[in-house]
Point group: C2
């Protein structure tokens, strides 16, 4: 293998594929990144056996070949090189890297020990603007479960219904649902539960990407393609809970408030709620005031207030402050509606104010106090 490419392209690609490398795998080759020529391009691949990435970059290929090298060392090394041309050459499992003033040899492992990252050659089930997909995932993935006790809850549920794509996640304490209207004719019907970790990786890959992301499904697998990058992941098997039944239809009490202000008074109250595992009370007065209260504990107590427009009666609900802060943190609209129906039913946060879209809800279950 012998080729040349630019430091800028190689460094960017290594930054992306490097994140899925498992640094503590028992299989040494999994700490490596695969470099393989593919016509006039270089393919970089990395996998932790759950997620795999293939990343192609344009190169001047003199001779074909492939080799794997330690991902972390290679990535740090390349990122410290000056911009401009880099020459890569592989002989006897040693990669020689040359750039003006720098010459390194990196010991590798033969490419045939590297696991195959499968590709999916069906037609895509969905094509969507990368920016829209990223924004939707950021709003939803935060509600997925961090533990694997109930595997389906550690995923994001994607499905189409009529002309709408739904993205849903819940860890059973909170739930986020985003709806995206799909343009054109009726889209292909599909549903899939995709690991939250895969979705977090996709969010990073989407980064500042322009253009479209394509979604491919196959037996037990999903693939996302953004330009010259493919992210492949296993799917989660099982049935996603019938979540719609827990979304309250009406509210006894609701108010509109500036998202930043609500976030701030919640954060201040949460400082005093550490001893009570983050429990805070949202106290709504019909005359137009909301208080976030952390009850007295060993360190002290706090009441934070804001004026707001209230519809309905007085009301109160106890919540985990972190879930409320998380929800407000992914709310795009500058104004949010907070709605409750008594202290035993979940509260609903949704975008409000002028021009707010009606395509997102975030539900938080109450704490019983």
């Amino acid at each position: 293998m012998k080729l040349s490419l630019t430091q800028e392209n190689l460094s960017r690609a290594l930054g992306s594929v490097g994140r899925v490398v498992s640094s503590r795998s028992s299989l040494p080759v999994l700490s490596n990144v695969l470099l393989a020529t593919d016509g006039n391009r270089l393919r970089l691949s990395a996998t932790n056996l759950e997620i795999g990435i293939n990343y192609w970059i344009g190169s001047k290929v003199e001779s074909q070949g492939s080799l794997t090298v330690p991902a972390r060392l290679f990535s740090e090394f390349v990122s410290n090189l000056p911009h401009g041309a880099i020459e890569l050459a592989a002989t006897d499992n040693v990669l020689t890297v040359k750039s003006p003033h720098y010459e390194s040899k990196i010991n590798g492992i033969a490419a045939d020990e590297f696991p195959l990252i499968p590709t999916i050659s069906n037609d895509p089930v969905l094509t969507l603007d990368a920016g829209i997909m990223k924004e939707a995932l950021v709003q939803v993935v935060i509600a997925a479960s961090a533990d694997e006790a109930r595997p389906v809850l550690a995923g994001v549920y994607l499905y189409t219904e009529d002309n709408t794509l739904f993205l849903v996640a819940t860890d059973s304490y909170r739930l986020a649902e985003k709806r995206i209207e799909l343009p054109g004719d009726a889209p292909q019907a599909f549903s899939a539960i995709i690991p939250a970790r895969t979705m977090q990786e996709l969010v990073r890959l989407l980064g500042e990407a322009e253009g479209d992301v394509e979604v491919y499904l196959d037996e037990g697998q999903v693939m996302f393609r953004i330009a010259d990058v493919e992210l492949v992941s296993r799917l989660i098997e099982g049935q996603f809970p019938n979540y719609r039944q827990i979304i309250p239809e009406n509210a006894e009490t609701s108010f509109d408030i500036e998202t930043a202000e609500f976030s701030r008074i919640t954060k201040v109250a949460s400082l005093f709620a550490r001893e009570s595992a983050g429990s805070i009370k949202v106290d709504i007065r019909a005359e137009g005031e909301v208080s976030v209260v952390s009850s007295d504990s060993e360190v002290g107590g706090n009441t934070s207030k804001a004026e707001c427009e209230v519809s309905g009666d007085d009301g109160e609900i106890s919540l985990n402050a972190r879930y409320l802060t998380d929800a407000l943190g992914v709310m795009k609209s500058p104004v949010v509606t907070f709605a409750i129906s008594g202290k035993l039913n979940p509260c609903v946060l949704s975008p409000a104010g002028e021009n707010a879209s009606d395509d997102y809800i975030h539900i938080v279950m109450p704490l019983r106090t």
Copy 2:
């Protein structure tokens, strides 16, 4: 105690004094910050029994008094409040904090349990521009020892000689010396070894400070005063090593190089030197080239080169890459001189190029290979 002040001033003061609070002390009151009225000002104090800070801020004091409250909680709380006026009131060891929309109670500990932070009422032994002091400390403190095995090496040695202030630190592997010419008449003669941790704290306090810093010395103690802030610390007892004898007087080989370029080729080489505990070789060719070489190891090997102006013969020296990177990192001048006399003597780094001042040297001991 009852008073009002601005969120901005209180938050800034808490940020500064909070850093010396020992969060894991066996004495609970040491996790607290002392609030005490002092005429028309509020004094905030914190100490870890080695370093103490007194910080005064202007306040509208209605009634005098004092109380200590948990530093971390109080600081986080205040930093999250909106800008503007804050009211503090203490009754029965409870601090009530009011600002528009926020009301909190924080349980405290009586002020008389808080240790006294001594002040020094002598005349200052030195008055220096805060910016000059900060820059000098940054360049020197990095060479101090991080462990206390030899206490004097865990400090920065300050002394005056003729019209010059010397700041010196060494961990026995490297040494940094900064000289500052003092204006006016002969300064007061003094010498003191000040803990490196105190100096790091002083660097932070000097931050963007304008004006002068005053240095006060007393039996076993040092105090720095910057406007309304006093930093008090114990001194280190003992004799600082007679360091001048290890500074080489002449060089067999030396070269001038751009500081950033030298730093970059060292960093790249160091990536390959992890197995050899950071050992790299600087190889100088009289015809005008320097290489930084990490010898072949299990991961591979690297040679990084730069062109430069060499005086004298060929030469080489083995160094710990981190010490070289550290030294280059605190070098202010865009060009640096690197000088050696054989592979067994220390190397000397000093500012070079146009307008470079001749007031700093950084010495790194060689590795014997």
